[in-house]
């Protein structure tokens, strides 16, 4: 009998871990933001700022904060890093439900609809009205929904292909300008050395596949009046699935996640030669392969049809103000200063990001090229050209996370086990539509 009781206690104990992580997590989170200051009228305010771009241990980030605090006596900015977009979203929703929120939150553009539809962030159209001219319209659009502004753009991702110049030359291939050339280059490289791939195929790059489908003319989410349209299984989108299916089936790309020790080792040893992403990629590659600096260059993303340079943005984030922030006005003022003002957006450039504000973008032109490619002096000019060609607006739905996990898992499975990529896109479409309908949205 004694043994039996011990066993049952253990069952409870282990179960408690599960339940505690599910339920008590919210309370623990609420405790974190307890240090926030009083309301606006109280004079001194402390703004709690959830961000992964401005790390409190980074002296360059601290300098930016010092500038603002010196100009605005009585305002104290408290930086805290709570994770990336997925983690920040769930923590913000938990904090909102616990009525104890931060004042400014950094979130990638694709995460905005989820927190807006949960009612967790504030419509700041009025608060940032004075800053409208400091940021280009196609960038404001990234942080706006239905004509209302919900965030101040921090940085943007003009889409670029970053590749090894020395090894492309060694294998006798030019930087591709179309996806057909990209596939041909992949074949040429792989034929000479089967252990080398032009790139890795990482199914977790959900946003990249969405952007590439948009480049082909598909709209994964769009609104029509009060209802949603989902186009993940549209023909244009499925053709991009076929494209990758072909490369994966022929073994021309290595199927593996990005930025693992394995991927890093292959980038360092010249087994993976490029990464199709955005202007922020060079600093990421530099952080894992600093020894290869000088052997890289970035060019505009390959196109589906030669001569059609239209692309969308990839990645980048904005500053949002939680609905329940007690210092919302002071917080919006700070967010507008950091993201949109001349001073703020120029300072953001010191953090190796591509600022969304006009002044920051202007400043990039006189900036040194990224450390990964000191010889490519026209890097920022190329990036600026790409921004002018960034004419495809992407609409994100309120359930991007649902789509991205369903898509990533299924695409990985398909890539590893030789299943149809088209089926993955079609299954994701079904999952997204079912989830929207379950939440009570109208879907066309």
């Amino acid at each position: 009998m004694k043994t039996q009781r011990t066993a049952f206690n253990s069952t409870h104990g282990r179960r408690r871990v599960v339940l505690a992580s599910l339920l008590v997590g919210g309370f623990a989170l609420a405790g974190c933001s307890g240090a926030a200051g009083g309301p606006d009228s109280g004079g001194d305010v402390t703004l709690e700022f959830w961000t992964w771009s401005l790390k409190s241990a980074d002296p360059r980030a601290q300098e930016i904060i010092d500038v603002y605090e010196a100009e605005n006596p009585g305002v104290t900015i408290k930086l805290s890093e709570v994770g990336g977009t997925t983690e920040t979203t769930s923590k913000l929703l938990a904090a909102d439900r616990a009525d104890d929120v931060p004042d400014v939150v950094q979130l990638e553009y694709r995460g905005i609809p989820a927190v807006v539809s949960a009612g967790a962030v504030r419509d700041i159209t009025e608060d940032v009205a004075d800053s409208r001219d400091s940021v280009a319209d196609n960038i404001w659009e990234l942080s706006s929904l239905g004509g209302q502004v919900y965030g101040v753009p921090q940085d943007i991702g003009p889409m670029m292909l970053t590749y090894r110049t020395d090894l492309f030359e060694q294998y006798g291939v030019e930087a591709p300008t179309t996806w057909a050339e990209y596939a041909a280059a992949a074949e040429t490289i792989h034929a000479q050395d089967p252990s080398v791939s032009i790139a890795s195929f990482s199914a977790t790059q959900f946003e990249f596949f969405a952007a590439q489908a948009a480049q082909a003319g598909a709209e994964w989410w769009s609104t029509d009046g009060d209802s949603w349209e989902v186009g993940i299984d549209s023909e244009a989108s499925l053709q991009t699935a076929d494209y990758w299916q072909d490369l994966v089936d022929r073994g021309l790309v290595s199927v593996e996640p990005l930025l693992t020790p394995e991927w890093n080792a292959k980038v360092n040893s010249g087994k993976i030669l490029s990464w199709a992403a955005a202007a922020w990629a060079p600093s990421v590659i530099y952080s894992v392969a600093p020894d290869t600096a000088g052997n890289w260059a970035s060019v505009p993303l390959p196109q589906w049809d030669a001569g059609d340079p239209a692309v969308s943005f990839l990645g980048g984030s904005a500053y949002l103000i939680p609905e329940k922030s007690k210092n919302a006005e002071a917080a919006a003022k700070f967010a507008a200063w950091l993201g949109a003002s001349d001073e703020g957006s120029e300072l953001l450039l010191t953090l190796d990001m591509y600022p969304g504000g006009n002044a920051g973008r202007e400043a990039t032109l006189s900036n040194e090229p990224p450390r990964l490619m000191p010889e490519q002096t026209d890097f920022y000019e190329r990036a600026d050209e790409i921004i002018d060609n960034t004419t495809i607006p992407i609409t994100w739905g309120p359930n991007v996370n649902v789509a991205s996990s369903a898509f990533g898992d299924a695409l990985n499975d398909a890539a590893l086990n030789g299943k149809s990529f088209r089926d993955v896109y079609i299954a994701t479409q079904k999952a997204v539509v079912a989830d929207l309908e379950k939440s009570g949205y109208t879907v066309k």
Binding site: A7, D226, P398, N401
Partner: protein
């Protein structure tokens, strides 16, 4: 009589209160950290978010959704597939862990064993390495570019091992759990072995039994309750497998984000913002674990514990 009755009643009252007084701290903690969270979890499992007011960006508001979450959990193919994977993993890990734990315990208990103190500690030490750390360490040893095993294989003209492929992945994961599991279960079985009175062995030796016979015919039957207990722990632990696959996931494309039930529950709660669905799946998992534990114990009760119901 009349003078005694009230006195006795007072005494009875005090007598009745005393155990509650002693149990009070435990009851408070039990209620605060077990009863309330479980009750709240059951409450949550009937709640969900629904759009109010319509529109493409309509606000999602929490409300009562009946048994939708349970229907969703039961019909979720990923959750069911996760149980299937856990089953395969358990079929590999549990017999291996328990077999090795029993073997080591018997070896340490053998009269000719030397260096028992050192060996016991050495076998137990991996249990002190947290699962996440062990998974990271093994993760690096499994990745072809950083794996010493694959390096040696390549040096001898072979090719890298595919530790994350199928079905190797199950063995790779079981291997991580093996190191800590063997140490922990070995200690339980060994402790149980040491509690067997030595007169029994003496009697057996006088009767001419070999050490092997003693191990098989005396020791194992006598430590069967301990083996059943460790088996039960292992079954529960297997159902709640989480940290090893979750830690390895960023390294291996073969591990999906819903690879085991707990990962699916985590994803439901924190990626898909569906706390209700996650709570429903948790309640089902907890209920299933409880039923399974009772069944296992009932099955072995008469045979091993000698309880006459």
């Amino acid at each position: 009589m009349t003078t005694i009755t009230p006195r006795r009643r007072r005494l009875n009252l005090r007598g009745a209160l005393t155990p509650w007084l002693f149990a009070f701290p435990a009851i408070v903690l039990f209620t605060a950290f077990l009863v309330i969270p479980i009750a709240y979890s059951i409450f949550l499992s009937f709640r969900g978010y629904q759009v109010e007011g319509g529109g493409a960006y309509g606000r999602r508001v929490e409300g009562f959704v009946g048994i939708d979450n349970y229907v969703g959990a039961i019909t979720n193919p990923e959750l069911l597939a996760g149980f299937g994977r856990v089953l395969i993993y358990g079929a590999i890990a549990i017999p291996t862990v328990l077999g090795l734990a029993l073997l080591f315990a018997l070896l340490l208990d053998a009269p000719k064993a030397r260096l028992t103190g050192f060996s016991r500690t050495a076998i137990f030490v991996p249990y002190a390495v947290p699962g996440v750390i062990a998974s990271l360490l093994w993760g690096f040893m499994y990745l072809p570019s950083t794996s010493p095993m694959s390096y040696i294989a390549r040096e001898f003209g072979g090719s890298s091992f595919d530790f994350f492929g199928y079905p190797a992945l199950y063995f790779s994961l079981a291997n991580i759990a093996l190191w800590s599991g063997v140490g922990f279960n070995m200690i339980i079985i060994y402790t149980s072995l040491r509690a067997i009175p030595s007169e029994i062995y003496e009697a057996a030796r006088i009767d001419g039994a070999s050490e092997m016979k003693i191990a098989l015919r005396i020791k194992i039957p006598l430590v069967l309750p301990a083996i059943v207990l460790t088996g039960l722990f292992s079954v529960i632990g297997t159902l709640q497998l989480y940290s090893e696959p979750a830690t390895l996931r960023p390294l291996a494309s073969t591990i999906s984000s819903t690879w085991v039930p707990l990962m699916a529950i985590y994803q439901e709660a924190f990626t898909n913002d569906n706390l209700g669905g996650a709570a429903a799946a948790s309640v089902l998992l907890a209920g299933g674990t409880l039923v399974l534990s009772v069944v296992i114990l009932r099955f072995f009760q008469r045979r091993t514990f000698g309880d006459a119901e």
